[in-house]
Amino acid sequence: MMNSTAFLPTTDGGSVRTTPVDAVALEARAAALCTRSIKTTSKRAALHTTIRCIDLTTLEGIDTPGKVASLCQKAIRPDPANPTIPSVAAVCVYPEMVEHAVTSVSGTTVVVASVAGAFPAGMSTPAVRVADIADAVGRGAGEIDIVLNRSAFMSGDLRRAYDEIVAAKEACGTAHLKVILETGELGSYEQVRRASMLAMAAGADFIKTSTGKIPKAATHPMVLNMAEAIRDYADQTGVIVGLKGAGGIRTAKQAWHHLVIVGETLGSDWLTPERFRLGASSLLNDVLMQIQKLDTGHYSGPNYVTVD
């Protein structure tokens, strides 16, 4: 029978159900999807879609306005030599860098996303987390990436974890809210499934795998697990939630396998920046090199793409 924690409240007073997850079968399904063979026109389309869905990210203590300006140029025009390459979806920075990024991307389709809410641990008081979010939104961030309160979640205080997301959503106003589960810390696929349902029920616009600050991050089975949660949530509530994989996605092949997993689980409708993102930094250049390979028939090497 379902235990009591299998039901989670939604912000409209209803509830959603969560389900057990079988790790062996989940990983087998992800491995099967990763054997999809993506060739010719599909490969090119996958590479372009990957670029359009990237949140180009820099989250370092040594980030400077100059570094962010350079990143923004790369985001707008990933390959200066090839104008057919689309812009990425967003740049993702710390709140301190938001204004610099907003200036750099103004007049383009690139959105500024900011981590906030005491990223990456989230271990500040609720008031401080909310203030951090409101501050980033006030500086012009169109999207806010916060972390789930794992301390509350893991200690069984689902209510507090839930309420903090509700408060974050309020603080976002019209900005989109992405909730990072930090899947590598939650211990099991089933906990991640439950955390996914909790974050969606509390109003997340996107659920996101990881901060990128710990080693276990956006693995293929984990993205599949969260895609299945999103499908389940849409079935139960009719609400569409986006998915962001972040952390450890460095190669084009990893990225198109993520596209395959999301596309075959949620449908091709999900393969747009409105519903799917890949948080990454070095991924973009590998994708550009793969596109050059398709164009010219050979690999050109890292000196033929710009470092940032």
Binding site: M1, M2, T19, P20, V21, D22, V24, A25, L26, R29, T35, R36, S37, I38, K39, T40, T41, S42, K43, R44, A45, A46, H48, T49, R52, P86, E228, R231, D232, D235, W256, L259, V260, G263, E264, G267, S268, D269, L271, T272, P273
Partner: protein, 496 residues
């Protein structure tokens, strides 16, 4: 989809074709029988064609084995048994089996492409399941060759002699491997008959047997249809029979074998139940049920053809199964992204079509996703019947096609009762996260193999076989080695 003028810009899951190359294989115009280490012309001169079921193109002419051909094969096998093979130590035999296993690995792409062309199954299945398991079976039994005294302690065992083996068309090479490996490991020699619609990989295996210098006559391959099989079953020189195929033919073979007092193992049909409880891992259960029936187009004796789902989740579960099968890719089996290939033969397609028509006529509700079938070849879309009653033909008879029937249950007892209410008893699947329930169910289910939270998993160390009309004897593990040995103290008719 984001609107775009350029179709290249929007990735979707209708992937561009990704065809496996056929350049790796070389099919002859015609094949004789493989007897005493060489290919020989059939005595009758009669041949029949084997075709690619996905395109209906002619692949090769195959020799139709007559009783004379079978007699030559049995004589060669007897000579080899009394000669070099019978004199060999176990470890020497093992070296041949290891070599065969390694050759299957090295030439796996070639075998996989040929299996797919001759049988219609998706290349990803022949590549990722049939070939790895075929090699694994030889590796596993190679390891037992010099350890028989440890395998059966306190008993002195010896091979039967000449073994007749008849294998089906659903896993042509793998079924041959399942049978050949333990028979050879035990020290027998073999007359093998592959199915008439899928003989090519067995004939390519003959190539491997020559390459590894297996002594002539140890394995003989006689091709043909039912008449050839009957000639093997009837031949007085056969010391043991093993058959995988339909229950109907199995019964006939058992009748004949019983008059000659030779040991027999049968692996026959099935009508397996997939039992899904409310507390199962929902998404993995949907996936498991779908692959459990639609892989290899449902041409699987242990296919989970009856879904029994707890009533409280039935509606949602079935909806999700329907949605999932609408995303299965049906088409060119050589495309690496194809999930559902071609039906093996025109005859089998007719049988499936008739059975499904019977299901509709008896009042079950049919669901088939919108699915474009290729113009040429033998195709049948993935099919689900809901509103199925225990008395419906589609819930009782083996269809051997991509057809799932759905029934509901309220209690675990009711699920067991319905699952067991069949003349078959090959396999069953249980889907629940509760371990105690799995153990309780596994004890009650009258099925040779019970999978829990997975399905269609095979391992050479794990015995496989049926209860009731699904046959007797086991393949895999020590259980699969025993039928190929006799206790030396008993007379020639006894089985180990």
């Amino acid at each position: 989809m984001t609107p775009t003028d350029n179709p290249l810009e929007s990735f979707d899951i209708d992937y561009a074709p990704a065809l496996e190359s056929t350049a790796v294989i070389d099919i002859a115009d015609s094949y004789g029988h493989f007897i005493n280490g060489v290919f020989v012309e059939p005595s009758s001169g009669v041949t029949f064609p084997t075709v690619n079921p996905a395109t209906e193109t002619h692949l090769a002419d195959i020799a139709d084995g007559s009783p004379e051909d079978v007699d030559r094969a049995v004589t060669a096998a007897r000579t080899a048994f009394e000669g070099p093979w019978g004199q060999m130590t176990g470890s020497e035999r093992g070296r041949y089996l290891f070599r065969i296993a390694r050759q299957l690995q090295e030439r796996s792409r070639e075998f996989a492409v040929l299996e797919t062309m001759d049988g219609g199954k998706p290349i990803k299945e022949s590549r990722d399941l049939d070939l790895p398991l075929s090699a694994a079976w030889f590796f596993y039994y190679a390891g037992w060759t010099d350890k028989l005294e440890y395998a059966f302690p306190n008993r002195t065992v010896a091979p039967h002699g000449v073994v007749g083996q008849i294998v089906p068309w659903n896993f042509p090479l793998m079924m041959a491997a399942w049978k050949l490996a333990p028979a050879l490991a035990a020290g027998n020699t073999v007359v093998l008959k592959p199915a008439e619609t899928t003989p090519l990989t067995a004939l390519l295996l003959a190539d491997v047997l020559c390459d590894v210098d297996l002594p002539p006559g140890v394995v003989n391959i006689v091709t043909g249809a039912g008449g050839t099989g009957a000639a093997i079953v009837d031949h007085p020189g056969i010391d043991k029979l093993a058959f995988t195929g339909s229950t109907e033919v199995g019964k006939t073979i058992q009748r004949v074998a019983s008059t000659r007092r030779i040991p027999l193992t049968l692996e026959l049909g099935g009508k397996a139940a997939h039992i899904v409880f409310e507390d199962s891992a929902f998404d993995q259960a949907v996936e498991g049920v779908v692959t459990g029936i639609y892989s290899n187009q449902g041409h699987v004796c242990c296919a989970g053809s009856r879904l029994l789902v707890e009533e409280s989740i039935a509606e949602h579960f079935v909806e999700r199964v329907r949605r999932r099968i609408s995303t299965l890719r049906l088409g060119n089996p050589l495309d690496k992204n194809t999930d559902v290939g071609a039906i093996n033969s025109a005859d089998q397609l007719q049988r499936i079509t008739d059975m499904v028509a019977t299901g509709v006529a008896e009042g079950a509700d049919l669901y088939q996703p919108e699915c474009e079938l290729p113009d040429k070849g033998f195709w049948f879309p993935p099919t689900v019947f809901t509103g199925v009653q225990q008395s419906h033909t589609v819930a009782r008879e083996e269809i051997f096609g991509p057809v799932l029937t759905v029934q509901t249950f309220r209690t675990a007892e009711e699920a067991v009762e319905k699952a067991n209410n069949t003349p078959y008893g090959l396999s069953a699947g249980i889907w629940t996260e509760k371990g105690s329930k799995i153990l309780w169910m596994a004890e009650k289910l009258r099925a040779g193999v019970v999978w829990a939270n997975t399905y269609n998993r095979f391992d050479p160390a794990s015995p496989f076989g049926g209860y009731k009309e699904s046959g007797f004897g086991r393949e895999g593990g020590l259980h699969g080695l025993a039928p190929y040995l006799r206790e030396q103290t008993s007379d020639a008719g006894g089985s180990a």
